[in-house]
């Protein structure tokens, strides 16, 4: 039974779109499809800059997200602790993984913030060589989180409508709807969402939706002592990120790059994007993630051809045997 506050993606009244809503060509799907079906494809595929508008929200607040500047992360894990406390997430293991100071190992249903640690024998920008003569060294730290993608595969594949887009442009799971089918788990190109074993439902970062609704910033951003995790409207964060990137490049840190910031990437840009100091795969992030839904129209076409082919094959199988098989034989 669905609770009163549960929603589906499509029980919003349709409304006209303004010029400001569109960032790209209209790939709205075939016009002969009825609107409820088409809108699913449309919000999944169209290059709208604003996913909340594409979902059907009217007069919604500006899209918000995270900009995580990993160049100032100190690896304190205050974000992990704050997230667990605010969201009452259960303890999920006390391992010594051996992965430097990372004992969380990765994002999961019970870890919505994960700080990655990478020790490298490369210089950290401009660096004096140490007295021991061992040479260059740097320690990369980054707080990973759900990316709240513009085109979110988890949301697209959820069959119950448990995963929805909020008016802030974030993606959340409605725990009272989720039946634990687990389709979102392999769909996410970043490996974020997972199913809680003892509970059976899927959980992930909500960007502290309940805090957003009262005008507060998410717990992790609030707790971060160095402001590595910055929260705000996405436009403003992108400007800040570009500025910070230029600053780092001027300082000689040519390896610095933005990740997930480009609205033209495979997921339409992330609601939580990063400034990284090395290739994404070093941090455990996919170099070029693509929302799986992008290939879905082609998949459906091929499924259709295959289904018709099966039916035709059966018909031919009977036609080819009509001569010899008739009457009952045991």
């Amino acid at each position: 039974m669905t609770a009163a506050n549960s929603r589906t993606e499509h029980n919003r009244t349709a409304h006209h779109r303004t010029e400001h809503d569109r960032a790209g060509p209209d790939r709205a799907g075939p016009t002969w499809l009825p609107d409820p079906l088409r809108s699913g494809l449309r919000s999944a595929l169209d290059e709208y800059a604003d996913p909340a508008t594409a979902t059907g929200y009217v007069d919604h607040p500006p899209r918000v997200g995270f900009f995580t500047d990993t160049s100032v992360c100190i690896g304190c894990k205050a974000c992990e602790v704050a997230c667990k406390e605010w969201n009452q997430i259960p303890e999920d293991g006390l391992l010594l993984t051996g992965m430097s100071y990372d004992n969380t190992a990765g994002l999961s249903a019970d870890s919505w913030r994960h700080v990655a640690f990478i020790e490298q024998r490369t210089p950290a920008g401009v660096q004096d060589e140490g007295s021991d003569g061992a040479g260059e060294f740097r320690w990369l730290m980054s707080s990973d989180v759900c990316k709240h993608c513009t085109h979110a595969a988890c949301l697209d594949v959820c069959p119950t409508g448990a995963l929805i887009r909020t008016e802030y442009g974030t993606v959340i799971v409605q725990a009272d709807v989720c039946n634990g089918c687990g389709y979102c788990v392999p769909a996410c190109p970043y490996g974020v969402i997972n199913r809680r074993e003892d509970d059976g439902r899927a959980f992930k970062c909500t960007m502290c939706y309940n805090r957003l609704e009262v005008g507060m910033e998410p717990a992790c951003a609030k707790a971060c002592p160095t402001d590595s995790i910055q929260f705000g409207t996405l436009d403003e964060l992108r400007e800040r990120a570009q500025g910070r990137l230029s600053e780092l490049h001027e300082r000689g840190m040519s390896e610095a790059r933005l990740y997930g910031e480009d609205p033209n990437d495979g997921v339409g840009g992330d609601g939580a994007f990063f400034l990284l100091l090395d290739e994404p795969e070093v941090y455990g992030l996919p170099p070029d993630p693509v929302v799986t839904t992008r290939d879905l129209p082609s998949m459906w076409r091929r499924v259709g051809v295959a289904a018709v082919g099966l039916a035709a094959g059966a018909a031919l199988a009977f036609a080819g045997a009509a001569r010899d098989g008739s009457g009952s034989r045991s």
Binding site: E91, L94, E119, R121, G130, A134
Partner: protein
């Protein structure tokens, strides 16, 4: 698993071998002291027998010794040995510690001259 052992007076009052999980890292390189390479081990305090994560307390390694300059307990840096495997229990541990003391020539008077 690693257990650790440190110089101690022979009062037999102190638990002087602890075991801990180890993370080997490049970040803290070895230092050369009087021509000998000495590695550095960092141990966090305040493990104990209650809480989510239990284990031997690093505090147990520390001798009750006085810093001669400021006259407070000297418990920030000391020399120790590190071996892999589980710490011996019971009498075996006491025997091992006595063995170390004997080899190091530690007596009741060690470290008592201020």
């Amino acid at each position: 698993m690693v257990w650790d052992n440190v110089n101690c007076n022979d009062m037999d009052l102190q638990l002087d071998a602890v075991e801990a999980r180890v993370l080997v890292t490049d970040r803290v390189p070895p230092i050369t002291v009087q021509g000998r390479q000495t590695h550095q081990i960092g141990l966090p305090y305040h493990w104990g027998t209650s809480g989510y994560s239990t284990g031997d307390a690093a505090n147990d390694l520390v001798g009750v010794s006085l810093d001669p300059n400021v006259h407070i307990q000297e418990d920030k840096a000391f020399a120790c040995d590190i071996r892999s495997g589980r710490r011996p229990r019971g009498h075996a541990k006491a025997d091992l510690v006595r063995d170390y003391r004997r080899r190091a020539g530690i007596t009741r008077d060690t470290g008592m001259n201020i």
